[in-house]
Symmetry: C2
Amino acid sequence: MDKKLIGVDLGGTTIKFAITTENGEIQQRWSIETNILDEGSHIVPDIIESINHHLEMYEMKPEQFIGIGMGTPGTVDLEKGTVVGAYNLNWKTVQNVKEEIEKGTNIKFAVDNDANVAALGERWKGAGENADDVVFITLGTGVGGGIITNGKLVHGMGAGGEVGHMNVHPGGYLCTCGNRGCLEAYASATGVVRVARDMAEEYAGNSKLKQLTDDGEEVTSKLVFDLAKENDPLAKMVVDRVCNYLGLACANFGSILNPSAIVIGGGVSAAGQFLLDQVKNYFNEYAFPTVKSSTEIKLAQLGNEAGVIGAASLALKFKD
Amino acid sequence: MDKKLIGVDLGGTTIKFAITTENGEIQQRWSIETNILDEGSHIVPDIIESINHHLEMYEMKPEQFIGIGMGTPGTVDLEKGTVVGAYNLNWKTVQNVKEEIEKGTNIKFAVDNDANVAALGERWKGAGENADDVVFITLGTGVGGGIITNGKLVHGMGAGGEVGHMNVHPGGYLCTCGNRGCLEAYASATGVVRVARDMAEEYAGNSKLKQLTDDGEEVTSKLVFDLAKENDPLAKMVVDRVCNYLGLACANFGSILNPSAIVIGGGVSAAGQFLLDQVKNYFNEYAFPTVKSSTEIKLAQLGNEAGVIGAASLALKFKD
């Protein structure tokens, strides 16, 4: 009988689980709340208990699994299977995640950074179409992502895949990382709002976005894109600027790596084809000629499921 | 007895050969002129004859070799072992290089793009220290290079590693590729001269570089760097601008790939530590925080030998 995989997507509010086939088809899934109390010391025991409980419920044994893979916030030591500095989990000290989970479940365990794991998911079962070279960008509160070359995640010395920190405007907006001009400072949900507020200040014409900003109303990235779709002149200018930087970043990923696809996901990408078309226009302005025709810019397809599916794929390395 | 490798570095004026150990130590080397007459139809037969002639001279047999690797200009089909569009060789149609050389020498043959092959050489036996993740940038007439992640060259859909076409100044200088603002347009030997001419036009103070430019003297990239080292104020501004773009590009390679080393070679890099220090300053301004401390910017060490050594390493894939 074919063996199964377990994928775990560990987040600050919920922990998602899935049992998948070797081919990444989800067969069972469930989730639990993340208990970050007591310096996050309940998290790993909760994961172990939840897996064991569900295996019992489904009448499955550890031998039926190739392994467990998990995506986590924080800095991961891939070989040791430890995690450190995951502040939204209250993990301030080194956590021996691999050792504890293997001991608690009797199933082999692999762990990687959550953004990398989502990239693996979109590459495997989503817009990446299981190609060897895929770049994944997720536009959320921040801008994260992951890079797959020759079928493998790029970690480099540990920070590989920090796609949100490509500098697209030297000397520009201050980024959370301390530098000025990172993609994240313009194309994250908060970045879009910042661009909107700045451009509203200098804008003199008629615009609903301008009016809302002046009235002190809450402006969101979604609102900016919605107004742009309705032809609000200021919102269109904001979206154009954001897409310019995104297109530049995509062009640079393309010219360096020439992946088959650059996949854009995360909350801001909910703007869909409207966003994609404008990013593509700038990509075509900036990318190396042969890259324009061989690297495709695409929207992510898996949404929240990218995490558990990509996590499950980490365990494929235990397949013999 | 240990088997050997043959490396071939095919250029527009000379073809360099080397016999190396499995560890990349050069044991023999020689070169011949490239005969590009008759649509370059003599090149492959000349390579075959030269290899066979030298094997006879050294009393070596094909069985003593793991394989032959070659770096070539033009577009390479890695699997088929064909080359097309190598205009400085007069190769306008598809050349079945692998088929012909394997038939003519009875040794297995692998081929890749010359910039990629030089990257492999610097990574294996040069400044890359045989690490798994290395970026190589060569500043010559153009700006080329190659990217190694997880120990393998990045080809993507074929154009991976076009490091010279990272856009560092959208809307800037027109590049040979047709885009505006590529690194190549500023940091190649011709790019440096172009920056010098442009900045000389607007410069009003005392400067030998300004004077030479105004007098219509020939200005080279080397001269610009030499004058900058002598504290010529205009030359210093030119070098600062070039290093700013180079530092930005290195920071973006670093933030995306976090390699252990970004290695800078080619003619312009003859400016040495003087160039490196200024590139590092800008790298430290733009790179993601953990990348600043984990990715090192280094000068290439192998010079012209990177080509034959890297080419030889291509044949390691035939080792069983």
